[in-house]
């Protein structure tokens, strides 16, 4: 009985650690997205026709999965092609966002909009942020 209980506790503990690794707290991602991204890319991620690229089912987000962390933190400028349309509107950076915030945002994009197709871990984000150009 005692052993079973400690097994359960261990499982819970491992589960919590895993949650920490992937920071899959959807609510937080949603909140951060709403605060930092939605005014331009809109709540549903569709962007603004011809001006702000979409994040929903975006081939760009998927192809550039390893750049997303840097783009979110530092912004970007110059022409960019998303789903066959060329956009050219500078995106401001968000220097104040932490690694956890950025991980949450990218995983929100993954969950909500299907792109990138693979989620990211905080470890990956940390590595990516080290080598931002």
């Amino acid at each position: 009985m005692g052993k079973a209980k400690s097994n359960v506790l261990a499982l819970v503990w491992v589960g919590l650690l895993l949650i920490g690794c992937f920071t899959e707290r959807g609510e937080e991602g949603k909140l951060l997205y709403g605060r930092h991204c939605a005014s331009c890319h809109l709540e549903n991620g569709e962007g603004l026709r011809g001006i702000i690229p979409p994040l929903a089912n975006s081939d760009f987000s998927d192809k550039n999965r390893s750049e997303l962390a840097c783009i979110i933190r530092n912004g970007m400028s110059g022409p960019v092609e998303v789903n066959g349309v060329v956009y050219n509107q500078p995106m401001p950076g968000n220097a104040a966002l932490t690694e956890t915030d950025i991980t949450n945002i990218i995983n929100y994009l993954h969950n909500e909009f299907g792109s990138p197709k693979q989620k990211v871990s905080i470890g990956e984000v940390r590595e990516q942020l080290k080598s931002c150009q």
Binding site: A38, S39, C40, H41, L42, G47, L48, R49, G50, I51, I52, Q89, P90, M91, P92
Partner: protein, 222 residues
């Protein structure tokens, strides 16, 4: 008891009078008004002067002058934005696009989006912006011109906030207001351009105002 019934009946009568004729709903005329007293046949006659949008002249995305003449005989919706705006503009514009899609073929409707950053938003920049949105200048004009005139018009005549403020993202503070203006350049409604439901209300009110004008013009011809 009898008194109570009378009150109830009275209340019901008022209630039904207020609600049963939705087609007679009229949009308010907003803004300050001043009484204008004239002497007619030795008697004073009081007329009300409503607030109206004064004359203006701005350039649109096709380098055409947009003046009151451009919107003569039309109702229009005005708003304030700037193309490089990183805060509320994209959402406002996505809502204004809904209005555009609904009324774009209507010769009695115009949309005027004033840039509050006209130094950056030149005709060429606005042209590119409109092209990207897929918007034609026969309905939707993106306006640039003298910055002080635009700010002045926004604050003193459309009664919305528009000012330079380095502390906000993008450097300009402005509201999400959409203003509905009638044929006589009077303000007939104020809506939140970020609120989908409020923009629904705007589109309903536009129909109402178009009907009001059609009625009035029809009567005028008789």
């Amino acid at each position: 008891m009898k008194k109570l019934l009378v009150y109830a009946a009275f209340g019901l009568a008022i209630f039904s009078a207020c609600t049963s004729e939705p087609q007679e709903r009229q949009l308010p005329i907003l803004g300050p008004r001043t009484p204008d007293v004239k002497m007619v046949e030795g008697k004073p006659v009081v007329d009300t002067i409503y607030h109206t949008i004064p004359d203006f002249a701005f350039l649109d995305q096709d380098s055409q002058w947009v003046t009151p003449k451009t919107v003569e005989g039309k109702i229009y919706v005005a708003d304030f934005f700037f193309t490089s705006c990183p805060s509320i503009c994209p959402k406002m514009k996505s809502q204004m696009l809904r209005v555009y899609e609904k009324f774009k073929g209507n010769p009695n409707v115009a949309l005027l989006s004033h840039s509050i950053d006209p130094r950056h938003d030149t005709v060429a920049v606005l042209r590119d912006y409109a092209d990207r949105l897929g918007v034609k200048s026969d309905t939707w004009h993106f306006l640039t011109g003298d910055r002080d005139s635009i700010m002045d018009l926004a604050q003193k005549h459309y009664f919305v906030t528009a000012m330079q403020d380095e502390s906000v993202p993008g450097g300009f503070e402005h509201t999400d207001g959409f203003l509905l203006i009638d044929e006589q350049r009077r303000i007939r409604g104020h809506y939140h351009g970020l609120d989908e439901e409020d923009v629904d209300r705007l589109m309903q009110d536009m129909e109402l105002l178009l009907a009001e004008q059609k009625n009035k013009n029809g009567q005028g011809k008789k």
